[in-house]
Symmetry: C2
Subunit: 250 residues, 2 copies
DNA sequence: AGTGGCAAAATTGTCGGACAGTCGGATTAT
DNA sequence: ATAATCCGACTGTCCGACAATTTTGCCACT
């Protein structure tokens, strides 16, 4: 049944190098913003070829642990952008063909909680971001793509306002999955737009006046509404942009 | 205020190659299990050097889109392992110094939902995994490290039993964060172990008899209990390596 | 036809060395 | 000081190579 010995995983040099650097970073020996030695120098220190170092660096760069500002040459330690992480997650979910039902259940768990905390803790700036997102939906309701983007923006703003980064990062991937699904469904339901708008307004109002219970309740209604167009088929994400964007300045 | 031009993000060849392959994968043109062409061949097709292809491959490998079985040479398309993805997320959260409070709130949102769905949908096998995890906690309660691992295993089993991969993948990173926090706190509260055990038993029982409401309620109690040892400080993750403290440079 | 075995062909992991295009910093002119 | 300029340090790519394995094609044997 179980083999007596499990294969000792061999560690290619590039992986060892990557791990070595990663350890320094998570242990905070290399702190955010610090500059890394040059590739040549790293190659010398590790006693490997620059090509090898290069592959290692690629790993860390992808994971968002190191990177460089636009136009900068020197690498520096960065913290993984939530955006990058969440797009990885959502892509993984999409590749696993999760159903809308699964997505919906997760949203039902997270979003109302986020709304509640948002009502409790939102800052004026966050509130403003919220109202702006809602306004954008109202304005762009006609344009399906823009409307969907506005919905995502709204959820993102609520999560941000919750002041809870764990909640926020957990919720972000759901948005990315919601977008394609919502795009297909928003046109199928005549009153979808009106209901979304109403919900957004109620939620925003509740968060404005710091009414936690009401914020949660309306968010629940809002999410529940999505279930109308729900469908058991896997969510399709095919046609959109590949994820790995670099950090952008807006 | 808004710049007229946005910085044109440069696309290094290795990134373009990586994106090209990624697109094929997410579009399902390359399906899970398919073998990729050899590095040399890819280099020829893309018209770049093998080293460049190699860096691109490294990206995809890290993202879990491609990989190879132990001892295999040829690359094949794989689906990102939830485990890998969630450890990335939790590392990101840890690097952002999230507080236990944030973690706790997120757990409070996810775990009861997972428990409820688990009660509704658990298979016999999943139920067994649950009882085994609970049993393990009971047995290892004395050994802090093992006890913590058992707690994590229990949560994981519940999430798995929920039959919802989104929920499951959203919850997984939280476990990884919980572990170090729990390790510190479990010893501070005398009755912590007893209460955990009781909760696990109640939850398991509720899930066994498919009592959704009870499963949720007990999970809420269970999570709420964790708050006792709660603390506003950032969660400390494996501050293992004593290295790096020494020389400053800077 | 199915199997086992074996040598040749193909591949990966690493290494060295090169070169053009840039970025960072020091240098010098305003 | 500030701005224009120059040079060295680096990164992105490419070539070419080689040992260690894997994969594959082929042939003999049951």
């Amino acid at each position: 049944m179980t083999d007596l010995f499990e294969p000792l995983d061999d560690h290619p040099a590039y992986r060892q190098v990557a791990n070595a650097i990663e350890r320094k970073i998570v242990a905070r020996a290399l702190r955010t913003g610090d500059h890394l030695p040059s590739e040549t120098d790293l190659a010398r220190q590790f006693g490997v070829n620059r090509s090898t170092v290069r592959e290692a660096i690629r790993e860390l760069e992808i994971q968002g642990l190191i990177g460089r500002g636009r136009g900068e040459k020197r690498l520096k330690v960065t913290r993984p952008e939530p955006q990058r992480v969440s797009s990885d997650v959502s892509r993984a979910l999409a590749l696993h063909d999760v159903t809308f039902q699964e997505l919906w259940e997760a949203m039902m768990a997270l979003e109302p909680a986020a709304a509640e905390y948002a009502a409790a803790r939102r800052t004026p700036a966050e509130l403003q971001a919220l109202t702006r997102a809602a306004a954008r939906f109202r304005r762009d309701a006609g344009d399906t793509a823009a409307a969907v983007a506005a919905v995502v923006e709204f959820f993102t703003a609520v999560a941000k306002a919750s002041g809870n980064r764990v909640l926020s990062l957990s919720q972000a991937p759901l948005n990315l999955l919601l977008a394609p699904a919502l795009t297909q469904m928003i046109d199928r339901l005549a009153q979808a737009r009106r209901r979304i708008q109403e919900a957004q307004e109620q939620i925003t109002a509740a968060i404005r006046r710091k009414d936690r219970a009401e914020a949660r309740t309306w968010m629940e209604k809002h999410i529940r509404d999505f279930k109308r167009g729900f469908d058991l088929r896997p969510i399709l994400t095919a046609a959109d942009e590949p994820s790995g964007r670099r950090k952008g300045g807006r």
